[in-house]
Symmetry: C2
Subunit: 165 residues, 2 copies
């Protein structure tokens, strides 16, 4: 299956919330996401990397205007767990490359990351599925990133904002 | 948009490769994934969390039988970067909940994570997109995890293996 990249989408106003040094044992994510679900916080990307020394970190993105509410819920979760610290990031945008057959093609990821590197764009966070690669970048570089990735994959028009959902 | 979870899929034989303490500046992912693409390594989940103190870590999953080749490519990347360490994990499976409207529903994630916690399943890695939540678990717990998540979402039959791609 050859990878067919059919579009690039952007979500401009994202913020990140990270819970670091949380215990890496069953039940911890349940506590954190129950706190988020209680407040019906619309969470977008969720990223947890492999832990180390029994501790792990999780980050997730929310619309920037939901950040305060999310931080309150995160603080509650950390208190309930009795461990971990909360950090956040603002002024971020998500750039996604959408297409079929992405999973078996590390070539698509390599091209996207190389195009962004040459444009001087730093990758703050990455998450993928079999049809999509999403990266978080500084909002001030969102337009540069969009244009660069479009050109790199030979695409014409950007997907309309909101084509994300 | 209410979330409609339509299926659970499993990829049984996954391994992880992690590059830790790599510089958090443009171009680093380009080096790593160019090494992977040269060897046409079929990469599945890619996870990079927000960095700290100018350093970041990235993990990705590959089919277990591609692990040796992937580690060779990862070692080359770390040598070229002049920084970072390589670790790996084996005996892992990916469990994915697939559906529409997931993005704005932290409830789906909370339910999945809570069901798995009650079954004593540890979440080793998490990545999401707007139509899917994927977690990495110990392969010995894959069947328990599949059954638990099926019951939790009131689903009948598992998606055929391979429905993932
Ligand atoms: C870190 C967190 O994911 C933990 N492993 C859990 O299962 O909840
Ligand atoms: C850590 C890595 O993603 C780096 N920020 C890059 O852009 O390549």
């Amino acid at each position: 299956e050859t990878a067919v990249v059919c579009g690039v989408a952007v979500a401009r106003d994202e913020a990140t919330v990270s819970l670091r040094d949380i215990p890496d044992r069953p039940g911890v994510m349940s506590v954190i996401f129950s706190r988020m679900a209680e407040r019906k916080i619309p969470i977008d990307m969720i990223v947890q990397n492999v832990g180390r020394d029994g501790l792990a970190s999780v980050s997730f993105t929310v619309p920037q205007d939901e950040l305060a509410e999310t931080l309150t819920a995160a603080d509650q979760a950390v208190k309930q767990l009795g461990a971990g610290t909360v950090q956040h990031g603002t002024n971020l945008s998500k750039i996604s490359v959408v297409g079929s057959g992405m999973k078996s093609h590390s070539g698509v990821a390599a091209q996207m990351f190389t195009d962004l590197a040459q444009a001087g764009v730093n990758l703050e966070m990455i998450t993928t599925s079999d049809i999509k690669i999403s990266v978080l970048v500084d909002r001030n570089q969102a337009d540069t990133a969009m244009r660069t990735v479009h050109e790199g994959f030979g695409l014409s028009e950007p997907l309309p904002e909101g084509a994300e959902s």
